[in-house]
């Protein structure tokens, strides 16, 4: 993340908004549709102000009908539009899962490549705001199981600003997961920041001793852990997956081949989380290079509780990441 010459200070939320505004200006087939994206300004204020600029047709408030308007977005995409469908929270997206899995993900293959649904579906994910068991889950890794869709997890301002346009250009459905703890994150971004690739993982910190593989909301905790580890002379490499489907195996394996040790940090529930798929690919592709079992730091297998201390204990935190990294190095 090299600091460019001319930069602006903004939040992850602002970066997402800029990405939407930019896409809407560049392509009039793009429109935003979802609950309270217009008059309310978006449940996480991402779309605030866009209604005034683009009007209610293109910043379309929908009734509470997740399956209906997500399916409508899929249909509009099949007819040549480029909808951005916003689902408030990943928990509510389950109401639209039939449309996402049974239609959006299947239609190109099932129709013999005659039809496709190139829409983007954005949603908030993750815990940390004490929203309890019906608003706090991290199912992005779970969605990454579905063939026919792509799954992105922007963890930086650059990606919040740059992934949307590339996703809209993609001929297939793309889901973008925005971790709720990142919206208020501020920083500097190149004034002319634009589209970024959506198929490569990024090495956010180079290191020799252990590969810490993560994405989204856990990225910053992992970078903090890496800083703390450095103080103990452990040089951790931090990989930001960026795309959860497809996974960029090459970048992962290159790192593991170098460090010979890996820990995966994933806010999904441990069993059956994306961390398991990554660990398995490392075993399949780099087993003989490993000097230690792959470690993982995930969420406890529990509906996320409201109480702050329990919620914090339920999801990955810096101390657990540090401990897992040391364990991988036999320095527990």
């Amino acid at each position: 993340m090299t600091a460019p010459s001319k930069t602006v200070e903004l939040s992850y939320r602002d970066a997402m908004r800029e990405a939407i505004r930019d896409a809407m200006r560049r392509d009039n087939t793009v429109f935003l549709m979802g609950e309270d994206v217009g008059r309310y300004g978006g449940c996480y204020a991402v779309s605030k102000g866009l209604l005034a600029e683009f009007g209610p047709e293109r910043i379309r408030d929908t009734p509470l009908s997740e399956s209906g308007f997500t399916g409508a977005g899929i249909g509009a995409a099949m007819a040549g539009m480029r909808p951005i469908v916003e689902l408030m929270t990943v928990n509510f997206s389950l109401l639209a899962l039939d449309q996402i899995l049974n239609t959006a993900a299947t239609v190109r293959h099932m129709s013999g490549n005659q039809f496709s649904a190139p829409l983007v579906i954005r949603m908030a994910t993750g815990a940390g705001r004490q929203l309890a068991a019906q608003h706090s889950h991290s199912l992005e890794g779970w969605y990454a199981h579905i063939p026919g869709i792509k799954v992105l997890a922007p963890g930086t301002l650059e990606d919040a600003r740059g992934m949307l346009w590339t996703a809209l250009q993609d001929p297939d459905p793309v889901l973008i997961f925005e971790n709720v703890m990142l919206y208020n994150m501020t920083g500097k971004l190149a004034a002319d920041a634009g589209a970024v690739d959506i198929d490569k993982a990024a090495v956010r910190r180079a290191g020799r001793d252990v590969s810490l593989i993560t994405y989204g909301g856990s990225l910053w905790k992992t970078l903090d852990a890496a800083t703390a580890l450095a103080a103990e002379n452990i040089d951790a490499e931090v990989i930001d997956l960026r795309s959860l489907r497809p996974l960029d195996d090459a970048t992962i394996m290159r790192s593991v081949a170098k460090t010979r040790r890996a820990v995966i940090i994933d806010e999904g529930w441990r069993s059956g989380s994306l961390s398991a798929e990554i660990c398995t690919r490392i075993i399949e592709q780099a087993f003989w290079e490993l000097d230690a079992p792959v470690g993982r730091v995930c969420s406890e297998e529990v509906p996320i509780p409201y109480s702050r201390h329990l919620e914090m204990a339920a999801i990955p935190q810096v101390p657990r990441i540090i401990a897992a990294a040391k364990a991988a190095l036999g320095r527990a």
């Binding site: 409508a72 995409a77 099949m78 040549g80 293959h109 490549n113 039809f115």
Partner: protein, 330 residues
């Protein structure tokens, strides 16, 4: 039968065309059933016998630019819309010459060139799609109509409710065509709906509606004309309930424990082909040789389709995962 005066357009030529289309569907379905027993066609097979007047009455009223969304019981809709019988049958054989490359089978006929959006096997799943197709047209200011066909069983699904509300709320050009054949698999209407007068559901969303005798192709066509005209002129949705009956089992796996033969037999007398043919004869609008010619043409077309499907080839297994994503994907 509807009084002759209701149908100015009912020329002899047009009448014969309506009859022929219904016979085309019937003969095609008969052949599909036969091919299923021969295991040439596999999977779930849902036939349209008894309901032909709906597809034949509605679809020709649409323009080529209009869009169609159908269910897994869509052979008739595909044929009337102009999907070649050859590629439709090849699809059921699983051959790569099939209209969906052999990947979809009977439940998933797709055809881009006729704006035929399938072939949806999730009951109710096609309704949100049709809303989206119409939304795209509406946003582009096109006067395209999207016709969405579904059974009365779909009415109980949440997706029905959400879709009708969205279409009405946003004023979208969707023609909802409910094929009310009184059963959803083995579930009679009264066992699935507290309000069995399906047409009345439309009013709950302030959508204009009409119920028509779905066994009377002329009545269906007349109603479809009114409906399509209303949608195209107003840009708003319209709900057309076609009251019909499924003469065959739900699929090839159905023992029909839920209805007795007498009921089915009673409906056989009302079935659209017998009925329309009889009416044409009574009105001297058809000669025996018209019928003979028509049936010969249809049989030839069916035979050609079988030959085409038989000649068809298997998609190479190496292409199994092709088109899960676009070849053009970044």
């Amino acid at each position: 039968m509807t009084a002759i005066t209701d149908k100015p357009r009912l020329s002899r030529a047009h009448s014969l065309e309506l009859l022929k289309q219904m016979i085309r569907i019937r003969r095609f379905e008969d052949k599909c059933a036969e091919l299923y027993t021969q295991e040439k066609i596999r999977g779930f097979l849902h036939l349209y016998d008894g309901e032909e007047a709906v597809a034949v009455g509605v679809i020709p009223v649409l323009e080529p630019r209009d869009r169609i969304v159908a269910t897994y019981r869509e052979h008739g809709h595909a044929l009337v819309r102009g999907v070649p019988m050859t590629t439709a049958l090849a699809e059921m054989y699983g051959k790569q010459e099939g209209c969906s490359r052999g990947r979809g089978g009977s439940m998933h006929l797709f055809d881009r060139s006729t704006n035929f959006y399938g072939g949806n096997a999730i009951v109710g799943g096609g309704l949100p799609l049709s809303v989206g197709l119409a939304l795209a047209d509406r946003m582009r200011g096109e006067d395209t109509v999207t016709a969405c066909f579904f059974g009365e069983g779909a009415v109980a699904e949440g997706e029905f409710h959400e879709s009708l509300n969205l279409a009405a709320l946003w004023g979208l050009p969707v023609l909802f065509v409910c094929e009310n054949n009184l059963y959803a698999m083995g579930t009679a209407l009264a066992i699935s709906e507290s309000e069995t007068d399906i047409q009345r559901k439309a009013a709950c969303y302030r959508i204009a509606s009409e119920a028509v005798d779905g066994m009377d192709v002329v009545a269906v066509e007349a109603a479809a004309r009114r409906a399509v005209h209303a949608v195209r002129e107003s840009g708003k949705p319209y709900f057309l309930e076609c009251r019909t009956y499924r003469l065959r089992p739900h699929s090839m796996f159905d023992a029909q424990l839920y209805r007795d033969k007498a009921e089915v037999d009673a409906w056989r007398h009302k079935e659209p082909i017998v009925r329309f043919k009889g009416w044409l004869e009574a009105n001297h609008m058809i000669h025996p040789d018209d019928l003979a010619r028509m049936e010969a043409e249809v049989d030839a077309e069916v035979a050609e389709a079988v030959a085409f499907a038989e000649r068809g080839t298997w998609e190479p297994v190496e292409q199994l995962t092709r088109f899960t994503y676009s070849d053009q994907a970044a």
